[in-house]
């Protein structure tokens, strides 16, 4: 099921794509009529003239000024994102580490207070339930805080409850803090300077993939140096009732530094250029991390964990499919999720993500294809609405920020 804001979610990718305006439903990909949830920033988005769409059960801004201009602002200046739809769970107790080690793929045993790591919530078949950032809580606070994709958070929590019931030898407490937790992110080359003007915390001391308690404009928040854009920047976690104060202070402080609000549309093109995976596209219940190119987030030597045997077998045999980056060399529109990929007339896989890259001005994409067809420089053909368009596999990330 496609939940992304920027893709068509074609049910039948051959030629018929439907009339204008239909994409709201197509991008939604959700057939239920449950009322949409709103983040604490909802009224702010309305006031800013955002275009709001349903996304993973939430009513979220897909764009304010326009996807391309917002994308460029993040690459050259700075952008502010509302991520209040994302889920957070606190995992505490004497066996919190053992519980996370058993239910996720990466080795978290080395995390010091305040440090974070990317890991995967695995299923019993060696597939992926969700991708996660696990923060060890700062010095003086017990346990871990885990950030989950909005679309997966309810089933992640249900799964962890099931695992906890099965592993009653582990003394662990799960606390889903999503409903009360606001989350925003500032990303881009000017992000640190803008944020520093509002806090006494020396931001230079917050390393990539760490977080600290601090204050922004006098409001208590966790300040994390993480993001999903390929740029430097911070994510802020604070109670719903104080998140708007942080947003407003940042917008004021950043107005002369090019800071603009950025919606989910540009968030998706930014993460694609940086080759960051999106669950439901590059990752899924039936895709091995080794196929997705995320073997680095799996540690087979840390002890037993759910799905370990299957993952070890895939690693030993070599993954049958590979996630590859490509760019179109022929003309024919942007590659999009589920478009078939061919080599010499044979279908070898499908596109998982694709877009016209605002930074590179080229049509780029990721595809999951047969291993034998994979290799930088090797050709592919992408079936765009029934027509084959030439493509070539390229090194990823497509974009890397200047150091």
């Amino acid at each position: 099921m496609c939940r992304r804001p920027d893709s068509v979610c074609l049910r039948n990718p051959v030629r018929r794509v439907g009339p204008i305006g239909d994409e709201r439903e197509r991008e939604l990909g959700e057939d239920n009529d449950a009322p949409l949830k709103r983040t604490a920033m909802y009224q702010r988005h309305k006031d800013l003239g955002a275009r709001l769409i349903p996304f993973a059960g939430w009513e979220m801004p897909v764009q304010y000024e326009g996807i391309i201009t917002e994308h460029r602002s993040v690459r050259t200046e700075a952008g502010l994102f509302d991520l209040g739809h994302m889920g957070q769970i606190e995992i505490t107790g004497p066996d919190a580490l053992a519980f996370l080690q058993y239910s996720t793929t990466n080795d978290l045993s080395g995390l010091k207070p305040g440090e974070a790591k990317y890991t995967l919530l695995s299923n019993e078949h060696g597939g992926v339930i969700d991708d996660l950032i696990v923060y060890r809580n700062p010095e003086g606070e017990d346990g871990y805080t885990v950030v989950m994709n909005a679309s997966n958070a309810p089933r992640d929590v249900a799964w962890w409850q099931e695992v906890r019931a099965r592993r009653d030898d582990l003394d662990v407490t799960l606390n889903d803090i999503s409903p009360n937790t606001g989350m925003i992110a500032i990303q881009g080359p000017n992000a640190e300077a803008i944020t520093q003007s509002l806090t006494s915390t020396p931001l230079g001391q917050i390393a990539y993939f760490t977080w600290q308690n601090g204050e922004i404009a006098g409001v208590s928040t966790k300040i994390a140096r993480t993001g999903y854009t390929g740029e430097d920047g911070f994510e802020f976690y604070a109670p719903n009732e104080s998140i708007d104060a942080i947003w407003t202070a940042l917008m004021d402080a950043g107005k002369d530094s090019g800071l603009v609000p950025v919606g989910l549309g540009a968030r998706d093109t930014l993460r694609l250029e940086a080759r960051m995976p999106l669950y439901g596209q590059e990752l899924g219940d039936d895709i091995s991390p080794y196929e997705a190119g995320l073997g680095w987030a799996v540690n087979l030597d840390k002890g037993d964990f759910i799905g370990r045997e299957h993952m070890a077998a895939v690693k030993a045999e070599g993954a049958k499919r590979r996630a590859v980056g490509f760019k179109l060399t022929g003309r024919g529109g942007a590659p999009r999720q589920h478009y078939p990929v061919q080599v010499d007339g044979e279908v070898v896989g499908e596109v998982t993500s694709g877009a016209m890259s605002p930074t590179l001005q080229e049509n780029i994409g990721l595809a999951l294809i047969k291993r034998s067809a994979a290799g930088v420089g090797k050709p592919l053909q992408i079936e765009v609405r029934g027509k084959l368009v030439d493509a070539v596999q390229v090194k990823t990330p497509f974009y890397k920020r200047p150091s």
Binding site: P5, D6, S7, V8, L10, R16, V17, G18, P19, I20, G21, D22, E23, R26, E27, R51, V62, Q63, G66, I67, I68, G265, T269, G332, G333, A334, R336, A355, M356, P358, R385
Partner: protein, 127 residues
């Protein structure tokens, strides 16, 4: 931007400007707003035929691909190459620079089924 008086409109957000037996087709302002940044345009060649109610082209924005429908039958006599080269013109100027194709009308009575500007504005406001 409200719909210009001199045209007819479709519920799929195309406009039609008729001069003699030639109909020029384009996308409305509502359509370009709905789509967002337009990045790609696919149009038929001169000599191709189009049919009422059938798609004749594709317009892509960053986030979606959509069909463009013809409200009339006829033969394509010209297409807007500059809009193909720089499709953002549809965002900038949907009613002037950004026409899509010109069609030799086969049956002018088909125009009677289309919306007038007032009816289209009301329809687009509700959409």
């Amino acid at each position: 931007m409200s719909a210009p008086e001199n045209r007819k409109y479709t519920k799929t957000h195309e406009w039609v400007l008729v001069e003699g037996d030639v109909a020029t087709l384009g996308l409305t302002d509502h359509a370009q707003q709905e789509l967002g940044d337009i990045t790609y345009l696919e149009l038929p060649d001169a000599g191709d035929s189009v049919s009422a109610g059938e798609p004749f082209g594709v317009v892509e924005s960053v986030k979606a691909a959509s069909d463009v429908y013809s409200p009339i039958d006829g033969e394509v006599i010209d297409r807007n190459e500059s809009a193909i080269d720089a499709p953002e013109v549809i965002n900038q100027s949907p009613y002037e620079g950004a026409w899509l194709i010109k069609v030799k009308l086969a049956d002018s009575s088909q125009l009677d089924n289309l919306l007038d500007p007032t009816a289209y504005n009301e329809y687009a406001d509700e959409a």
